[in-house]
């Protein structure tokens, strides 16, 4: 395998943004996650929770609530607008002003025909969904305080609205309130503080369940307007509630970072009278849990600590299967780092800026090398406009730099003169909107190329060129991989469509083979010249991959090759990187794989214990390895302090 000089890069201070809202579409199994900076991410739960799409945020837009109405995704924020997203082009389609001040919540009825929004001024507004737009329909009786939470009865005739100190039940047809349920304030010193009903859930048996800022989860009878049961869950706030589809299980997310499960079970076995009993407590967050989703098999939670946590329920999944593994998504499933292989410089992408760094140097040999020349930041490039940067790249020679946002693509030329650096903007002709990702070919820029006949309209999320600039491969979220010949500027072929989305892809520098790793951890190698899978890929598919490789949770985000040995493939995901040697025979499927350096696929080396929380692993021209790490502890220390919790023996 050989030895590498490794640059352990820890100066990329990437901060994921807090999760503020989530919505799950049961029919398509897509989870929409909104972050505090306005970014909306779409995860495909049918495909190993792969982050399929990212809609970049925009300055001045916050997302307070998300909701699916059929296939359409809506969000609202404190700027008072309702936004519908264009999920094909990954941008907002249109915005509608709600005229009620900041909008706290949005909810659609189960039929997907109407939207209800709750506003700061105490109104609940109903919008009707029409083709390509929404239309204001009616206002409900105005309440005295802001509407923080809304929930439709499954029949669509009633709405429960949580406000300060109170829950109201409205009749949708008349717009009048039918019930008024007062929520108790916290005891003691907080008696004077109003109670915010952060979340309500309306069940089909006319039960309303509320979670409030006094830490209570309360069960109400909405027909009589009476309180049935109070569960004191926390000393702090209950921020989110989520109920399962069969209404037998309820999750409550608290400011302490714990998620409490309630189940609708009978006290006596074999008897029909059931009640909500508190059962499990899941502790997977350090900060407030702001958003919760109850899927059929798992609890999905997100909050201020920016982790998206999927915790499967053991009784709903087969033990030992892939669904039974808990999964914590912190980093995006795409690369935020590009390496200038030849120049030894790195490009880091932030939503609002780009940073170019030169790697440090060392002349020593041994286990741990001291840095003789410190890494230095070359360029801080701030973006223009309100739209966040969605992708960026650096040419291998380090001479060109480009980034794109929702509205524009910008290209810069870098010139190094010993210590001084010159950055000049290069004007570009109009680009095809399809090409979201810009990758640099050594010799010339990609220009619009004719698409193949029956290409899908989904946006491309991966792009790769060969080192000689002959081939360009693109992948979109419909799992298609198209290959273009850049020299001839024409469509070359399409790789046979596989059921899982490619998470990483690269073209071999010499063999003109494209290697794809999919979200379900399968690896394929496709020969562009023969237009068929290579021998190695076929034998791999025949033999099958090892279970412990397939059961990994994090998708592979980067594929690269070794210039010295064409048989090496370097892969990495968030937790490990591995080097596959194609020349070695494949291991037996059932053999035991233990230890730090295990053989996973072919004779590959995995380094899970040494490097953690990886954002990028790249091989430089001088045969040194660049490992960009972002320790989770560094992220945690930069978060605001969590609510104080009593720890045992402190």
């Amino acid at each position: 395998m050989g030895e590498f000089k490794v640059h352990r890069v820890r100066f990329f201070d990437y901060m994921p943004s807090a999760i503020s809202a989530m919505a799950f579409n049961v029919h398509t199994e897509r989870l929409a996650v909104a972050r505090a900076d306005g970014t909306v991410e779409i995860y495909n739960f049918a495909d190993n929770c792969f982050q399929e799409k990212v809609i970049p945020g925009k300055d001045g837009r916050t997302v307070e609530a998300l909701c699916w109405a059929g296939q359409r995704l809506f969000s609202t924020g404190l700027n008072g607008e309702i936004v519908e997203y264009d999920l094909e082009n990954l941008r907002s389609k249109y915005t509608v002003e709600a005229y009620g001040g900041p909008v706290w919540t949005i909810s659609s009825n189960s039929q997907g025909t109407q939207l209800a929004v709750g506003c700061e001024d105490g109104t609940v507004k109903i919008f009707e969904l029409v083709e390509d737009s929404i239309q204001f329909q009616s206002n409900f009786d105005r309440l005295k305080s802001r509407v923080l939470s809304l929930s439709w009865h499954p029949s669509g005739t009633q709405i429960a609205a949580g406000t300060m100190d109170m829950i109201r039940v409205f009749n949708v047809t008349t717009g009048h309130a039918t019930q008024r349920m007062m929520v108790d304030r916290a005891a003691g010193a907080n008696k004077k503080k109003e109670v915010a009903v952060w979340s309500v859930v309306f069940l089909s048996d006319n039960t309303v369940i509320s979670g409030d800022s006094a830490g209570k989860v309360q069960v109400w009878d909405s027909q009589m307007g009476t309180l049935i049961r109070t569960h004191l869950v926390t000393k702090w706030d209950v921020m989110a509630l989520a109920v399962s589809r069969d209404e037998s299980s309820l999750l409550a997310g608290t400011s302490e970072g714990s998620v409490v499960q309630f189940q609708f079970i009978s006290a006596r076995l074999d008897q029909p009278d059931k009640e909500w009993q508190r059962t499990r407590t899941l502790r997977s967050h350090s900060h407030d849990v702001r958003a919760l989703v109850h899927t059929d098999t798992a609890a999905v939670s997100g909050g201020n600590d920016a982790h998206l946590v999927v915790r499967p329920f053991m009784e709903k999944v087969v033990k030992g299967s892939k669904e039974s593994a808990p999964c914590k998504i912190t980093f995006p499933h795409r690369s935020l780092v590009s390496c200038g292989k030849k120049a030894g410089i790195l490009l880091f992408q932030f939503p609002e800026r780009l940073e170019v760094w030169r790697l440090g140097e060392s002349n020593e040999n041994g286990e741990e090398l001291s840095v003789t020349k410190k890494p230095e930041a070359l360029i801080h490039l701030k973006r223009k406009g309100d739209d966040h940067i969605c992708c960026s790249t650096l040419s291998p020679c380090g001479g060109w730099l480009a980034y794109a946002s929702a509205s524009s693509v910008r290209l810069f030329q870098l010139q190094y003169d010993n210590d001084s650096i010159a950055l000049t903007k290069v004007e570009m002709g109009p680009l095809h909107v399809l090409l979201w990702f810009v990758f640099f070919v050594p010799h010339y820029l990609p220009s619009p190329s004719p698409p193949p006949p029956e290409v899908s309209k989904q946006a491309v999320h991966l792009m790769s060129t060969s080192d000689d600039g002959q081939w360009l491969a693109t992948a979109n979220s419909d799992c298609e991989v198209h290959v273009y010949n850049l020299k001839k500027l024409k469509y070359h072929c399409t790789v046979p469509v596989y059921g899982s989305c490619p998470s990483a892809m690269a073209i071999h520098p010499t063999g003109s083979n494209v290697v794809m790793v999919h979200a379900d951890q399968k690896i394929f190698e496709y020969s562009l010249e023969q237009k068929e899978y290579t021998e190695w890929s076929r034998s791999l598919a025949k033999k099958g991959l090892h279970g412990s490789w397939l059961n990994r949770v994090a998708p592979v985000t980067h594929v690269s090759f070794s210039a010295s040995n064409p048989d090496y493939i370097i892969l990495h995901d968030m937790n490990m990187f591995c080097i596959i040697d194609k020349s070695l025979p494949l291991p037996e499927k059932d053999s035991d794989l233990v230890g730090a350096e295990t053989q996973l696929i072919s004779n590959s080396s995995v380094f899970p214990s040494v490097f953690k929380n990886l954002l990028c692993v790249g091989l430089m021209e001088d045969h040194s390895l660049v490992v960009v790490e972002r320790p989770l502890l560094d992220i945690a220390t930069r978060l605001p302090a969590p609510v104080r919790q009593k720890k045992f023996a402190t």
Partner: protein, 879 residues
């Protein structure tokens, strides 16, 4: 060897009352708990033991109330029997013979009986839960045949099995698995918790409890969590919630009868009360003394009962208040001190709670008191080096106590403390603390048995020295008390001393240094002689007593040697691995405990005689290193030769698993059985010594009072004077007679009220006497039967009270007369006087000299001259 059918080894006194959970009776008045081979019934209000239920031949392993009759209790034992008792009368009703070792017993709410007993399976012995049908019978002894196995492998601890929902299902936990078996449906569910690696130990189940009404099973775990299981009739959809307060394993769980609360306890010695349904709210009852082992709730929920690891049962009233503590002999991790008998209280003295010495009365099977030796807070946490009492010694009169405490943190810290018995407080008071008395650990201390005031304490340490300590009287000018100081430091060729022993008269001290025994004179501290019998270092030393006092016995790890001190030569020796040598202070007998392979043999012999009096092989498993001869209160009448050695004192010994065993002879056993069958006085008050003392007295008083009232007719014994005063004050002043008339009456009424209580003592006798006297005097004149003089003086002292009798009668009459009482009083006085005068006159003649002396009294007590006069008469008769 001699067969000893008439003596057997028994648990008697100091047995574990916390071995199994106690049972509270339906009416919460009694607490029944196991205690070795017998069962004890305590009163929950007075903490007193009311009955000993004796009958089992081996350890009692389970107790349950008879579900069909709440005045009966079932017990099971390792001897293979189930016995049914009437605990109010202490009567054995029936014996069911199962003929297999029974380890615990359960009764479901339906009345089915379940036992845990060994079950053979695949040639391995496992413990199974077995359902048993007790046949209805009227006979005393019933053989029980046939049983069905419910569970194949269960824990022997009864905490790990619980019945729910009126016996619908049974939950059993073992290691990391919870099993639920529905008895009617015959369905079986198994729930396992993380069984691998480190998780396994943390998740291990420790106890289980079932909710009385809901289908909820509570389980305690090794890491202090409590899980509440619901929906457990499904293999996959089961669910549980977790609550966590305890920092170490949960030892006990119990639901209250209504199911509103869940009680839990563990090492923290805090009783935690969780609200069922709102587990966030909890109440604590802290500082219960030591870690909780079991929790029991009375059927009406008013009493909680926790049993603790230090052999204590605490009764808690109304969830908040400790109302009674029943303390047994504390079985610590190890008894480091020797067993001793306190000469004053005849109590056994040994290590008790950490840092304490306990005084335990074996006769009454009750702890007398705890003496805090270390006087430091004990921290309930493992891996902490804390001071421990390692040695203790009492002098022969019980007026001095010496203790050695030791902590072996990094370097050994030792301090020697001397305690004087304080007659006033009836306990030991610290007199002298000697820190670092030796450089090394102290291996033995002993007091010289000399009966003089000058007591000597000898301490022997591994640092190569032995030291003698003496009480030095301070200067009379100082106010300081006498304190102890070092008198002599001795060594012998810088060898390590091991043990020391004084001869019975205190004239010789033997100290063993490795193979050599040195004999010293404590008077001059001269080395008198050395004795040696290699090979092997001396492990134990002991002088013979009484007629054998010329012998010195020494035990090496291979030999037992006996030296004659007159000839300074070896008298005899024998190959024995003696672990403990013990001389009976009241006879010539010496007991030697010999460690065989795994068991211990006992030989009792006289040093002068070649044959042992008594020997018993395989006494118990493990080595015996602590034993004591406890002198009996009254010697037994020796009958059998083999048990004669037990006549003067009783031998108690501790096995390696801290069980206190003793020997019981047949006649003694019969006597005890007879005692236990005595009908006892029951009812609301338990039979306590205090009750016996006070209750009898009160009863006698009541009887006396009855007699009194029946004779005199006075019911109300309240001072009549107060009535008079009341009437006096309530009467309108214009109808009252003049104050001069009233004054004397008023004063006398006051006198009456003061002396009233005294005259209760013997009023009847006095009255009868006086009457008799009157008759006598009339008939026989001066020839009155002679009486002891002191009695007459007694009555003379009681003049006042006697006088009140007349007053009483008058007042009684007065009460009926309403306002006319004044007149009655005024006029009646002369009347009474006159009637008496007639009787009096003859006597007046006889005793002319006396009235002179007594004149002051009549003046004060004008209305009562007549009785007074009778008294002088008595005096005069005698001369």
């Amino acid at each position: 060897m001699v067969a000893h059918a008439d003596t057997r080894v028994v648990h008697r006194g100091g047995s574990k009352i916390n071995f199994r959970a106690p049972v509270i009776t339906q009416d919460s008045r009694f607490l029944i708990c196991v205690s070795g081979e017998c069962i004890k019934v305590f009163s929950t209000s007075t903490e007193e033991c009311i009955h000993h239920l004796q009958g089992h031949k081996e350890l009692v392993t389970g107790l349950v109330l008879n579900p069909s009759n709440h005045l009966q209790v079932f017990s099971c034992s390792e001897d293979g029997t189930i016995r049914l008792w009437d605990f109010t009368d202490g009567i054995l009703i029936r014996t069911y013979n199962v003929r297999r070792r029974i380890l615990s017993m359960h009764v479901s709410a339906k009345g089915d009986v379940f036992l845990v007993m060994p079950v053979k399976r695949n040639k391995k012995e496992k413990f199974g839960l077995v359902s048993l049908n007790l046949p209805p019978s009227v006979e005393q002894h019933v053989m029980v045949k046939g049983h069905t196995i419910v569970f194949q492998s269960v824990s022997t601890d009864p905490k790990c099995i619980a019945f729910g929902q009126g016996g619908e299902y049974v939950a059993s936990v073992k290691d990391n698995v919870l099993h639920v078996y529905f008895l009617n449906k015959k369905t079986f569910y198994r729930f396992a918790l993380g069984t691998s690696g480190e998780m396994a130990a943390r998740n291990a189940f420790t106890c289980v409890a079932c909710h009385p009404k809901d289908d909820c099973i509570a389980t305690g775990h090794g890491d202090g969590k409590i899980r509440l299981w619901r929906n457990f009739n499904q293999e996959k959809e089961y669910t549980f919630s977790t609550v966590h307060w305890h920092h170490s394993g949960v030892n006990a769980l119990c639901f209250t009868p209504e199911g509103t609360n869940l009680l839990s306890g563990g090492l923290e010695s805090v009783l935690v009360q969780w609200r069922y349904g709102q587990e966030g709210q909890k109440d604590f009852l802290p500082r219960l003394g030591s870690s909780i082992k079991e929790i029991v709730v009375s059927p009406d929920g008013s009493l909680f009962c926790t049993s603790h690891t230090d052999n204590k049962i605490t009764v808690i009233k109304n969830c908040t208040k400790v109302s009674a503590v029943i303390q047994g002999l504390v079985h610590g991790d190890g008894v480091k001190t020797a067993l001793m008998v306190d000469p004053r209280t005849k109590a056994l003295v040994l290590n008790g709670k950490p840092g304490h010495l306990q005084f335990y009365s074996l006769q009454r099977d009750q702890q007398l008191y705890n003496l805090d030796i270390v006087q430091q807070e004990y921290i309930n946490q493992s891996n902490l080096d804390q001071f421990e009492v390692v040695k203790a010694a009492l002098d022969s009169r019980g007026s001095w106590l010496a203790t050695v405490e030791q902590r072996s943190a990094k370097e050994v810290e030792i301090s020697l403390k001397l305690w004087a018995f304080d007659e006033h407080t009836q306990s030991f008071v610290l007199n002298t603390t000697i820190s670092a008395p030796h450089d090394g650990p102290i291996s033995e201390i002993c007091f010289s048995p000399s009966s003089q005031n000058s007591t000597t304490l000898v301490s022997v340490s591994l640092d190569g020295h032995f030291k003698a300590w003496q009480l030095t009287q301070p200067d009379p000018s100082d106010d300081e008390e006498a304190s102890w100081s070092c008198d002599f430091v001795g060594d012998y060729h810088s060898l390590e001393p091991k043990c020391c022993c004084f001869s019975a008269d205190g004239s010789l001290l033997a100290v063993s240094f490795k193979e050599v025994v040195t004999v010293w004179s404590p008077a001059s501290w001269d080395l008198l002689t050395t004795l040696s019998q290699p090979p092997g270092a001396i492990q134990d030393l002991c002088f013979g007593r009484l007629s054998c006092s010329k012998y010195l016995l020494g035990a090496t790890d291979k030999n037992l040697c006996c030296w004659n001190l007159l000839t300074c030569s070896l008298e005899w020796s024998t190959a024995l691995d003696v672990s403990l040598l013990l001389a009976d202070p009241l006879s010539e007998n010496v007991a030697a405990f010999c460690g065989a392979e795994k068991t211990t043999d006992l030989f009792v012999f006289r040093p002068s005689e070649p044959r042992p009096h008594f020997s018993q092989q395989a006494l118990c498993t493990g080595r015996v290193t602590r034993a004591v001869f406890a002198p009996r209160d009254e010697p037994l009448d020796g009958c059998e030769e083999s048990s004669q050695w037990l006549n003067r004192s009783q031998l108690y010994f501790l096995t390696h698993n801290m069980e206190l065993l003793t020997f019981l002879t047949k006649p003694e056993e019969e006597r005890l059985m007879a005692l236990s069958k005595q009908p006892t006085i029951d009812d609301s008050v338990a039979m306590t010594p205090f009750y016996l003392l006070l209750g009898k007295h009160r009863k006698r008083q009541e009887e006396e009072r009855d007699i009194l009232s029946s004779q005199s007719g006075v019911r109300n014994l309240l001072p009549q004077g107060s009535v008079a005063i009341k009437e006096l004050l309530h009467t309108p002043s214009h109808v009252l007679p003049s104050t001069s008339i009233l004054c004397s009456m008023f004063v006398s009424s006051l006198l009456v009220s003061v002396s009233d209580s005294r005259d209760e003592e013997q009023p009847t006798e006095v009255e009868m006497e006086s009457e008799k006297e009157e008759e006598d005097s009339e008939e026989e004149g001066a020839s009155v039967p002679p009486r002891p003089e002191h009695e007459s003086s007694d009555t003379g002292a009681k003049l006042g009270p006697v006088l009140t009798k007349a007053e009483h009668r008058e007042l009684r009459g007065v009460k009926k007369l309403d306002y006319s009482w004044i007149r009655g009083l005024v006029t009646s006085n002369p009347v009474v006087n006159t009637t008496k005068q007639m009787v009096k006159t003859p006597k007046q003649r006889v005793k002319t000299p006396k009235p002179m002396a007594k004149t002051p009294k009549p003046m004060v007590k004008t209305p009562k001259p007549m009785v007074k006069t009778t008294k002088p008469m008595v005096e005069t008769t005698n001369p």
